[in-house]
């Protein structure tokens, strides 16, 4: 029997080893942080806004909670190193993977907050952030200037304080835009090319084009041609839900259409029915993919990247990977153009909008922060143009070059690196910058804040097929297919309204989504003679939901915005 104890003995040894690993691991961790502090103290500054007056930067550490997944930058990341050298700040990032609702629940219950946290309405409601107005007034002149025009919009609807510094939506100078990320009816370039580059305006024209092309080319590269795809998987539901509002010339307001400051849901309206009835007819003609409602996101992307799908309603960024794949396969004629389709010629399209202020996103300082002044001063430093250039373009000479006209350009090699995840961990500060206040549009020297939007950069990267395609239309970029967006309505956009956790409004919203998910596919796939009965069942189910609570909450907030945001 003694022999049987040998494995146990071995396990004992292993256990002892484990303990020593853990202990040394913990000790090591502490040593490291001490080291960091020590080395930072010894450094003298090339002062670029460091907080102490005698020219030395005081080292300090900021703990940061990022409410979404991200990757730790490498320890020797060049941008963070520069920040540390010039401002003394080091960062301790905590990224989230898993369900944010669960994590926030326990963070709030235990009041366990780090210094800096990304915006979240749950945290705001729990009083986790400190008001920033006074701090900005006193210590942050750059931020004050940056947000001046947006000041009222940043205030919390409940108590009027500013808690979060929005990360996107503050514009400066000319906004160069060459890439449209938003919603549209997309169509394969070859469909337009073959039809002789027509201007397509209405829904009927759009489907006619697709039908003709499909009739002429029943297969593409040997696989059956698919006329139209509708993705409705998990939270990616806009392909099914959102088109009606755009078809009547409204911008994306989420689940409602707003007329003269009054919001109402559109799911049960006649103009919604018109769209789904059209889809029903198109399905009868075999234009819609039979599998469209059972496919998952991966299957959807697979179909798009095979080049056999002629059209779909989607947001561009959602299928960007499929388009990249088509480009790799050199199937440029199978990539897509976004079209601002409406019901009739007289309606002006309103798909493309002016990016609104990204409320409830960006950083807020937590009530547990030991030294809020230091943090706001740091943020104030990082909004200056030099730092912003460092974040977007990188280090001059290494990541971009300046040509004789003072324009920023990248070599092909530098451009390639920008899409290399491994390289970015060591050379970009995306985790931080993604949430920092930032200048968008142009710098004071006229260069674009976003490298991809720099016109020269865009042209340099354009392939021959696209050059020819754009020439045929006389456009500079694919953004020109859309009307120039008008000034946003004051309240815009309604989708950013916080419905408040657990409220009747939020429950109603969830129910409405459930009903649409269930009934719209049924209606579209129904025999045309049954369409009306399915539609009536759908609308009668909608009327059982507390729609009023949902609309009231939105209208109350729209009114609040109009009262408070008007300049």
């Amino acid at each position: 029997m003694g022999g049987r104890f040998k494995p146990l003995f071995r396990l004992g040894i292993l256990m002892a080893m484990t303990f020593s690993v853990i202990l040394s691991g913990c000790g090591g961790g502490k040593d490291n942080s001490a080291d960091n502090a020590g080395s930072a103290t010894g450094q003298t500054a090339t002062d670029n806004g460091g907080s102490s007056s005698d020219g030395k930067v005081e080292p300090f550490n900021v703990s940061v909670f990022i409410g979404e997944a991200g990757q730790q930058p490498t320890p020797d990341n060049k941008i963070y190193k520069k920040i540390k050298e010039e401002t003394g700040a080091t960062f301790n990032f905590e990224f989230l993977a898993g369900d944010i609702n669960q994590k926030l629940g326990v963070m709030i219950a235990g009041s366990d907050y780090p210094d800096l946290m990304t915006g979240n309405t749950k945290l705001t409601a729990a009083g986790a952030y400190i008001p920033l107005e006074d701090l900005i007034e006193k210590y942050a002149p750059n931020l004050k200037k940056h947000y001046e025009a947006y000041w009222n919009m940043m205030k919390d609807p409940n108590d009027g304080h500013i808690y979060i510094l929005p990360n996107y939506g503050v514009f400066n100078g000319k906004l160069n835009s060459s890439w449209y990320a938003g919603p549209a009816f997309w169509v394969q370039k070859d469909v337009l090319a073959e039809a002789g580059y027509p201007k397509v305006r209405t829904l009927d024209e759009y489907f006619d084009l697709i039908a003709k092309y499909k009739a002429k080319h029943p297969t593409i590269d040997g696989s059956p041609t698919i006329g139209f795809e509708i993705l409705n998987y998990d939270w990616r539901n806009w392909g099914l839900f959102n088109p009606p509002q755009h078809l009547i010339g409204h911008p994306n307001d989420g689940g409602v259409v707003v007329n003269n400051g009054a919001a109402e849901i559109f799911a049960d309206k006649d103009y919604a029915k018109q769209y789904y009835q059209k889809l029903n007819q198109m399905n009868e003609q075999g234009l819609i993919d039979k599998e469209t409602f059972v496919q998952n996101y991966d299957q959807y992307l697979a179909k798009l990247s095979s080049g056999t799908v002629l059209g779909m309603f989607d947001q561009h960024w959602n299928f960007q990977n499929a388009e990249n794949s088509l480009i790799t396969q050199k199937k440029f004629n199978r990539t897509y153009v976004g079209l601002p389709i409406v019901y009739d010629e007289s309606t002006k399209d309103y798909y493309r909008d002016r990016a609104p202020l990204n409320l409830n996103n960006g950083f807020g300082i937590s009530v547990n922060a030991k030294d809020p002044v230091k943090i706001i001063k740091l943020l104030d430093t990082l909004i200056t143009e030099d730092w912003q250039k460092t974040f977007t373009w990188g280090i001059e000479g290494e990541d971009y070059i300046v040509n004789d006209q003072g324009r920023f350009m990248r070599t092909q090699e530098q451009r390639d690196k920008q899409s290399d995840g491994t390289w970015k961990l060591a050379n970009k500060a995306d985790a931080l910058f993604g949430n920092l206040p930032k200048i968008e549009g142009s710098f004071s020297d006229g260069n674009s804040t976003d490298a991809a939007a720099q016109p020269e950069e865009y042209k340099a990267g354009l392939n021959d097929y696209d050059k020819k395609f754009l020439e045929a239309y006389g456009f500079n970029s694919y953004v020109d297919f859309f009307s120039e967006p008008p000034e946003n309505p004051i309240y815009y956009p309604a989708w950013s309204i916080d419905l408040v956790e657990g409220s009747e409004a939020k429950v109603a919203n969830t129910k409405l989504n459930d009903l649409s998910t269930k009934y719209l596919p049924k209606a579209i796939l129904a025999n045309p003679s049954d369409f009306d009965s399915v539609w009536n069942e759908y609308t009668s189910q909608i009327h059982k939901v507390d729609v009023k609570a949902y609309e009231d909450k939105i209208n109350e907030q729209i009114k609040w915005r109009i009262d408070n945001w008007s300049k």
């Binding site: 029997m1 691991g25 997944a69 989230l96 994590k103 629940g105 235990g110 960024w317 899409s419 392939n463």
Partner: protein
Amino acid sequence: MSMENHQLSPQQAAGVTISKSMRSSRIEPVLFNTFNAIFMIILVIVTLYPFLNTIVVSLNAGNDTIRGGIYLWPRQWTLQNYKAVFASGTIYDAFWISVARTVLSTVLNIFLTTMLSYTLSRKEYVFRKPITVIFVLTMYFSAGLIPGYFLIKDLHLLNSFWVYIFPSMISAFNMIVIRTYIGTIPDSLVESAKIDGAGDFKIFLRIIFPLCTPVLATIALFVAVGAWNSWFDAFLYTSSRQELSTLQYELMKLLSSSMNSNSNPNVAAGAGMTQESAVSMVTPLSIRAAVTIVASVPILVVYPFLQKYFVVGLNVGSVKE
């Protein structure tokens, strides 16, 4: 997989008819073995495929995988997905944390759970019933996220390595499985040891524990796999201390961040181009495959190692010794 079910029933049926009609015939074992072998081959194919496919996807270029149609051989070989997984240095430390928690949890679980099971297998033990009930019920309720968090906080286990170990030292399920197993060991062994004057602890350690090898191998596997795969405790309790992060949680962060960069309009807008150069990117699909392989291979090797303990007659043999 429904294929598998179709295969299963004819197989069973075959077994039945054969044994009835050709009992004690010589052909029977041959037929049985043939059917069994065919069944096993189909099983191997069906269960090997998903894992093999994952490996293949992990070795195929992300932008190509997206087209679909990758089954048993990569179309465009690449190690890029693995490079992306190993790019962040954090996973090396996390690997060792995972190893430490797995080994420690397994050892503690095995010892404590078996000890408890032994006491609850003793019919004469006065607290047998109440203690059994107390443990069994824990399988059917959970206090919920927030009260659990408060407990961990009050015990000062937040941001401590021990939060991986202490809350899960005993599992009621494992306890029951071991108890059931102990029930099959002849009682006479314990009785005679008692007559020889051995105490319960000594009996447990010297007689029961060694006799339980097959079931302990099973439980060790369950606990080790559970500890290795768990990420929720890292997510909830230690996420603000990077140096305590586990392999699974690091890989999860990696995976979600790759999905994130494809679902965040702002980020995507910046990256969006019609240029030919924007093509070398890895995609969530391919990262997921590489992550799965990196996360599971280290623990997969445990089972083959433990298999030698699943041998018929192991415990009875040692009893007679």
